[in-house]
């Protein structure tokens, strides 16, 4: 990605915030006036946050742990209790009470002048909100998976490119040394020519049956929580557990695609392409409202004779993580700084000066902040995230139809299967539509 957007734009937007600060002088805390070795507010990146749940707040705290790089000034959530709690936390950090809160992201986008937005929402909202924020030319740190359907993903990628914003996906494993090292060994042929990649993701959830319809808690805007998804009565399942319902997520498979599939793509040079054939089987809960697969196992063929198998961990010999198998051996990486190989000597290999050196970042949040300033591409840009989740979404379609899916990774379309093609998008419930890019 080239960066036509410049440092000047960033400074301009910063200036706009300062201009706003003149109208609202309390926004500048005394601690931020360049005292105590801290960066003055004009140097801090002004952030908004949409989605103040556990992931949103965890990311937010990671940004605040950086050396005074960022400042959160606006928060948005459909749960008033969460919003209130988040504001209390941000107010303490800001040492003032000025952080604004919104129940509707559209109002936030209209009123706020921001450099960057942290977004951590259920997947069914990603298509609309990621694109809308990009259209406002606000840089985005967005949680994975970046989309619920291929069409959502295509729209988001276009919006990010067209608006020239800086995008970082929450695929933080890229900023961990072991994943970087494993991918670099694989891409430089240290296990030989890559033949087969195995990706193990968590086993699925077993379900809760069907809880009775309940009154929506007063703090929750259920209609807004559902947004573009089909309307259903409230059964006490919203925060966190949306992960187990296909209307909002594809389960562990799509949740973790942005980690171990993303890493697999990184080490195999598949970041700008996709499989040509996908087939596999899923195991679905027998009963209850949770309907994401509890087991999944599918194989993707690539045009270069490479195969990738994606399955829940208990189906695979090495369990969780990514394993690149070449004709000379294998390398495996997983969380917990795990890296192992068929021959320990592989792990001591030095990557030569003229070989491929993958993008290096030691801190995923700092990397985003640095790129917002430099206007350079982040370690986890949007098109790469789209290619990672595409693998999972195509696997989902293959498992749902029971068929072998043929995919054209250049045209990004399914070949010769109308039923499967319909699942590349989802009509939105009125009045919601995907933003035009």
């Amino acid at each position: 990605m080239t960066n036509k957007s410049s440092r000047r734009d960033f400074v301009k937007r910063s200036a706009a915030v300062i201009a706003g600060a003149i109208v609202l002088p309390q926004i500048i805390p005394s601690s931020a006036l360049g005292m105590g070795g801290k960066k003055p507010p004009s140097d801090r990146i002004v952030f908004g946050l949409i989605g103040t749940g556990s992931q949103g707040m965890s990311d937010c705290r990671d940004f605040l742990r950086l050396n005074n790089e960022v400042q959160f000034v606006a928060l948005c959530d459909v749960d008033a209790n969460r919003l209130k709690k988040a504001k209390e936390e941000i107010d303490i950090s800001n040492k003032n009470k000025d952080c604004r809160t919104y129940g509707d992201y559209r109002e936030l986008l209209e009123k706020e002048k921001l450099d960057a937005m942290l977004i951590a929402l259920p997947d069914h909202w990603h298509g609309i909100i990621y694109s809308a924020v990009a259209n406002k030319k606000i840089d985005v740190y967005g949680e994975k998976p970046i989309c619920r359907t291929i069409e959502d993903g295509q729209t988001i990628v276009s919006a990010v490119k067209k608006n020239n914003i800086i995008w970082q996906t929450g695929s933080w494993q890229r900023s961990e040394a072991n994943f970087h090292r494993g991918a670099e060994l694989a891409i430089n042929g240290r296990v030989g020519k890559l033949k087969y990649i195995e990706v193990g993701l968590p086993d699925g959830n077993r379900g809760i049956g069907t809880p009775p319809v309940q009154e929506v808690p007063p703090e929750l805007n259920w209609e807004m929580w559902l947004g573009p998804a089909l309307k259903v009565p409230y059964r006490g399942v919203s925060h966190w557990n949306w992960r187990w319902i296909l209307d909002y997520s594809g389960g562990q498979l799509t949740d973790w695609a942005g980690h171990h599939i993303d890493i697999a793509n990184w080490g195999a040079g598949l970041e700008n392409t996709g499989p040509v054939e996908i087939k596999g089987t899923g195991v679905y809960p027998v009963d209850g409202i949770y309907n994401v697969p509890v087991e999944y196992d599918f194989r993707c063929k690539y045009s270069n004779e490479l195969e990738m198998r994606v399955a829940n961990a208990s189906r695979l010999p090495l369990g969780m993580g990514t394993t690149w198998h070449g004709d000379l051996g294998w390398v495996h990486v997983d969380r917990g700084n795990i890296i192992s190989a068929s021959d320990p000597k592989i792990l001591n290999e030095v990557i030569g000066e003229k070989e491929i050196h993958l993008y290096k970042s030691d801190n995923h949040y700092q990397n985003f902040v640095d790129c917002v300033r430099s206007r350079k591409e982040t370690i986890a840009p949007v098109h790469v995230a789209y290619r990672a989740i595409s693998v999972a979404l195509l696997g989902e379609i293959a498992m749902t139809t029971g068929q072998t899916i043929k995919w054209d990774p250049y045209k990004e379309s399914i070949i010769g299967n109308q039923r499967a093609s319909r699942m590349l998008s989802r009509p939105y419930r009125q009045p919601w539509t995907l933003p035009t890019v």
Binding site: V286, G402, R419, P427
Partner: protein, 393 residues
């Protein structure tokens, strides 16, 4: 010539395989299990079963003298007194000549002293079986072990649901999930025997944390050969009064039906049913019968989401099974549309059907979906389905 004629007539008049179920003595509830075994096998249309009772324990075994040559398959639900020498040799001749055998649950407890019988069942338990009878056979860390350690054969922990793992490709296991949850049953363990000409098709892990166990993957389904005969051995299906969950399990029923067909023909023509269990949960048939898809659709029509979504899960499973078969899919679509049109069908059921039709439907569904675009309860789902059926991708 006359013999040939008889052969052809027999084939023409009755294409199902004559099957003999032997019971009458068992430390298990044979009065409950044997009619269920008959029902399960008869239901396939492939077998026609007769149940033959031996004399009661201590009775005159000379009176038990079946003509095995009349049958293609013998199902053993028997654990009791020794048969007469004549009956024993008749049975052995039947197997050697290519007769099929199904060894069911405690039948592998029977006849510890009868050498040939133990070669037919491969592995057995109890009845003072020990190292003299052959090794323990099991899997440990995915490796097949034949363990000659001294010790008694046969044990089981507390009854529970357990996960069955398919070990190899075979006509009986073709198309079955590689792991599935079995209804509450005894998990037979520490079986030992000659284990000749035997392949283990499926195992279950006897986890000591779940009510006593060997911490080994114990054989659950086995196939063997003896002479020209094929033997299917299932250790599963412990009967309660009325059968109980071990026999109601669609996994037990299906593997029994498939194993029986293979024992007779060496092949399996039966389709894997849509209610076959998975790791996600057991699948019990209260009356041992497979539901037809029509019965499933009727259940969906009166669908109450708070009670169960399982019939809808069955429908989705059946749709996947019909993948690529346009006629089969259209048949399902027609049934779905009929339920959708029915005034008695619940709103919840209609919502689910519209979502399903949104991807698997054809022009056939469009008129009824169009009608629902103005229905207050269903307009969102109808719009969803309508838009998707007309998406240009």
């Amino acid at each position: 010539m006359a013999g040939l004629l008889t052969f052809f007539t027999a084939c023409k008049n009755d294409s199902s395989y004559k099957t003999l179920i032997i019971t009458g003595q068992n430390n298990h509830l044979w009065k409950a299990s044997s009619p269920i075994l008959k029902q399960i096998l008869d239901e396939t249309g492939i077998f026609s079963c007769e149940i033959m009772l031996t004399p009661e324990k201590g009775g005159d075994m000379n009176t038990f003298n079946p003509d095995f040559s009349k049958y293609k398959l013998v199902v053993l639900d028997y654990n009791g007194d020794s048969w007469s020498d004549k009956t024993k040799s008749g049975f052995l001749q039947f197997v050697k000549d290519g007769g099929g055998v199904v060894v069911y649950h405690a039948a592998d407890n029977s006849f510890p002293e009868w050498k040939e019988y133990n070669e037919i069942i491969g592995l057995g338990g109890w009845g003072n079986r020990n190292q003299k009878d052959g090794p323990y056979v099991y899997y440990k860390h995915n490796e097949l072990i034949k363990d000659t350690t001294a010790g008694n054969g046969g044990s089981h922990g507390k009854r529970r649901e357990y996960l069955v793992k398919t070990r190899m490709d075979h006509p009986i296991t073709k198309g079955l999930p590689d792991r599935w949850l079995h209804g509450t049953d005894e998990l037979y363990s520490q079986l030992r025997g000659p284990a000749k000409n035997m392949q283990i098709l499926a195992t279950a892990f006897a986890d000591s944390a779940l009510g006593g166990g060997t911490m080994r993957d114990e054989p659950m389904l086995m196939v063997l050969s003896y002479g020209k005969g094929r033997i299917f051995h299932t250790t599963m299906g412990h009967a309660d009064e009325g059968g109980g969950p071990a026999m109601q399990c669609a996994g037990f029923i299906t593997t029994l039906q498939r194993g029986a067909e293979w024992a007779v023909t060496g092949n399996v023509t039966q389709k894997v049913p849509f209610d076959f269990p998975t790791v996600a949960g057991v699948s019990l048939r209260s009356d041992f019968k497979q539901m037809t898809i029509e019965e499933v659709m009727a259940q969906i029509g009166s669908y109450d989401i708070t009670k169960s979504t399982k019939y809808f899960t069955y429908l989705e499973s059946e749709i996947r099974k019909q993948a690529g078969d346009e006629t089969g899919l259209l048949n399902l679509e027609k049934m779905m549309v009929t339920v959708l049109k029915n005034k008695e069908t619940t709103v919840e059921a209609k919502r689910l059907l519209l979502k399903e039709l949104s991807w698997m439907g054809s022009e056939y569904s469009v008129p009824v979906i169009k009608d629902l675009l103005t229905n207050n309860d269903l307009k969102d789902e109808a719009a969803f389905a309508y838009a998707r059926l007309h998406s240009k991708k």
